[in-house]
Symmetry: C2
Subunit: 535 residues, 2 copies
């Protein structure tokens, strides 16, 4: 569905810019200003006309597409966005534009008002944003605002990391106790009605909602309702003297589902059944990241299993074999974090993960793990922490952190968070997610996703953490980060992104500014010519 309405989106987005925004000089010499930049775009005789007050959009009959048409018509008529820099193109005596027929766009090249020609299509079908609503809670209005902003940039998948060890905010009809006892509070839950609202709003904005219920790790919050199915509950996450490998969790709170307890599968299958019924998307994210060995090892039953020459990887395999087919049988493609295959301590064999039904999400080692996964024949979604993790660089979340008890002059490690430094929009814009892959391997890369873990984020900072950095990725995944001559689009992209950041703010999205206003008012004057030395 996302793809189904993506094309009218791109078409309408061009049009709204055409009438309301700041043309910049494009590689082909014609003034345009659109983000993400279309594949090809030309405007032989730059001319602007007015929109008729009776302007109408005709669209094929489809409930979501009709909503899109309605929303964009209102935006065209009522937004009155004033660009940071006035367009150099003058108004012509052409008659006002009376109507727009969305069937038009199926022409090739499609003909638009005032001889505006575009041909457009995305380089990658999956262009996502992940939000973690377990470490800190976000209201439905925050999720809708995020979806609205995503649609501005043709980002088409919201990966909703709903639950984790910290809280279980999702109300499930078959397992109501999970949220009742595992959520942060009654006012911090998502009801089935909330989910419907988010999913429908997503459909109307061309954004698919991919749910993730992380497990068997990251499940401490499940223990509030079902202590019997969780191991190492309520333990201190990093006992004094223990080394990294012997922590009980990668971060607090501690807790992993016990693959040897039959009740585990009863609960997990109820969860899957409910989630599948609430989320129509064909992708289901099953988590499976960061199994912490000592958490399972702390459990008596598991100790017995290991004593009989069982291994932790066998435990994970048992869990996957008991849950993956159940999800697949409900016509879902299953997404897992790469750990399920690549974790050095606890992982399963590829034979357990059919390439046909499983997609893997990479986050470690930059391009290297992407390469490993496609070589293993898997379709991949790229969320490299080195480039796409939006939470990095704002410091550690741990209390009593002795790293900070240092004399001045001590290097505090890039901002002292594990994935520091902060990923700038330029870092994101310049990452090529198929770097180092052969053409055939590259075809297995479905796309990319920026990720916001909420260790140090919540609704107060959601907008500036995500925008405009997600916009930077949106263009690289749509039409790339290079112009027709193969050069990176730095200077030109900076001006366009500046304009779009300002447009976001006028639309109520609190995106970060990227430059002083003076820079866009004085095009090119804030550029740098010679290469900088890396500092």
């Amino acid at each position: 569905m996302g793809n189904g309405i993506r094309i009218p989106f791109s078409f309408l987005l061009i049009l709204v810019l055409f009438f309301h925004s700041t043309p910049q000089i494009s590689a082909t010499g014609y003034p345009i200003n659109v983000w993400p930049k279309p594949t090809t775009f030309s405007w032989p005789e730059p001319r602007i006309t007015l929109l008729s007050p009776n302007f109408t959009i005709f669209s094929p009959s489809n409930p979501y597409l009709n909503q899109v048409a309605k929303r964009y018509r209102n935006q065209f008529i009522n937004e009155h966005y004033h660009p940071l820099v006035d367009p150099p193109v003058n108004l012509t005596g052409l008659p006002p534009l009376r109507s727009l027929d969305i069937k038009l766009i199926y022409g090739n090249p499609p003909r638009l008002a005032c001889e505006l020609y575009i041909h457009d299509e995305p380089l990658f079908p999956y262009r996502g944003v992940m939000l973690d609503t377990s470490r800190n809670f976000y209201g439905v209005t925050d999720l809708l605002r995020l979806i609205k902003a995503m649609s501005m940039y043709k980002l088409n998948v919201l990966h909703w990391h709903i639950t984790d060890s910290h809280s279980f905010p999702l109300v499930l009809p078959s397992e109501p106790e999970l949220a009742k006892k595992g959520a942060y509070g009654e006012e911090m839950m998502y009801t089935p009605e909330d989910i419907t609202k988010v999913v429908e709003f997503g459909m109307e904005h061309g954004v698919r909602i991919m749910p993730e219920i992380d497990r068997p790790g990251h499940t401490a919050s499940w223990a509030e309702a079902y202590p019997d199915i969780v191991t190492c509950t309520n333990m201190f996450w990093w006992p004094a003297g223990a080394d990294l490998f012997n922590r009980l969790a990668h971060e607090p709170a501690t807790g992993q589902l016990n693959p040897l307890t039959m009740n585990t599968y009863k609960v997990v299958k109820n969860v899957i059944k409910d989630v599948v019924s609430m989320f129509p998307d064909s992708f289901y994210h099953g988590g499976a990241d960061e199994i912490t060995p000592n958490c399972w090892k702390s459990n008596k039953t598991i100790q017995y299993f290991l004593a009989k020459n069982g291994t932790l990887s066998q435990l994970l395999e048992m869990f996957v074999n008991s849950t993956l087919p159940y999800i697949i049988n409900q016509n879902r493609t299953v997404v897992y974090w790469e750990d399920v295959l690549l974790d050095p301590n606890v992982s399963v064999a590829a034979s357990v993960l059919p390439q046909k039904n499983v997609i893997l999400k990479t986050w470690n080692n930059g391009p290297n793990n992407t390469k490993k996964l496609v070589e293993a024949g898997y379709r991949v979604i790229v969320s490299s922490a080195e480039f796409y993790y939006l939470d990095c660089g704002h410091g550690g979340w741990a209390g009593n952190d002795s790293r900070y008890n240092q004399p001045p002059g001590t290097n505090l490690g890039n901002g002292s968070s594990w994935c520091a430094p902060f990923k700038t929009w330029q870092t994101i814009y310049n990452y090529d997610i198929t770097y180092g892959l052969h053409i055939e391997e590259a075809k297995l890369v479905l796309g990319g996703e920026v990720v916001l873990w909420s260790k140090q984020a919540d609704p107060a900072v959601m907008d500036p953490r995500i925008w405009p950095r997600a916009s930077a990725m949106a263009e690289t995944l749509w039409s790339g980060n290079r112009d027709s001559t193969g050069m990176k689009r730095y200077a030109e992209a900076t001006d366009r992104l500046n304009e779009w950041r300002n447009r976001m703010v006028t639309r109520g999205i609190g995106a970060e500014p990227i430059q002083p206003l003076w820079c866009i008012r004085n095009p090119g004057m804030c550029n740098t010519i010679q290469p900088f030395k890396l500092s």
Copy 2:
């Protein structure tokens, strides 16, 4: 004035916490939760009583203090703040608190409701926040919101960096053309009425407003009205092939006042006269940072002066000698950036800067420059970029920046801004601004100031950029960063700051979260015990 009402502030702040906030276990074993922590605080028998609906605050008659009393009374009665964690202390049968007499606080130790004893005073008299309103504009409501938040933490000086090369937003009766032509636009100016509003609001909140009109550098915006007094106007800031030293400005836009043009002094003195009349504070910030040699060298008259064996430092000395006495004569203590004395290329002799009238603001080389300045006998305000610059780590502002055109795996330098990485609240909390000084030298350190340059900040991100990081500095400058045993207050500070960050959000200040909610709900469980290796 700020100091005059600082004490009732601390007193009232204690009280509001006492009634509405989350006690934490203090070093002395009694539940308290206040930020910044008072010098000493004890509560022999933790008991809580109600506030009478007729609760009244009596204060000595002073227009500002009366405002404070009124504001806090309303806050006590109407805020209804609900702590993240409920207080462990139960309500007693004691009679409701009927009134509060601010004269009380002059007792030693002061006796409060329910046997709450405090003795409180700041370690440093100057506790500031700097905001740059030239690179990007902030509305008066933003400034008032900042002042309001500062008063929550006993931060008592707003250093207002009003003008710079990018824009000149200050409307001056004697020099109206400067704003008329140099501001970003009519809606992006501060009128004399706006200034009065900010100054008065500051007085009512115990926050002094110290104005800065930066010059002779950072004055490109002056050229819009007076091209004749500015050198190297409208030039590209970093010509291709030029090395760092040969740039025309440290950043765009280019322009420095010409010390050899008499009209320069006519304009500057009008500016000083007007600013002094608008800002009653006894400190006047004269700027004087980052003189760029090539900007002056590009001017014919200056070339002639240099050809006659004149030096750039003589030019700066000429400028200082022609302006400093004029400011001093208006009963102002003059604050300059350290560059005026320490810049390796263009600086003046100490003899030109009387220690009695001049305070220097340090920002380079951490504790080393602080040491140099106090050794030279100057009072110092510490704004070390290494610890107190709030804009660092979010990437470079320059367009067409080739640093980013790198293959994956390239180290992009801590987030690629000159002062990267991002300064975390812990980094700020742990900085000792008198590090390496003898007791006598330390007495010359007036205090510290966190600094927000608006290269990549504007009203959309002002709150999360400043808070809660400025709160971290506020406590270190008020009562320090160590408990009575000399240990750093990490764990305990994290929980208190968490609570206060939440309180800020409920008061409409969009501060950054520092942890998942789970952490404060589970005290100590998100701490770390063993020392981390610096990563």
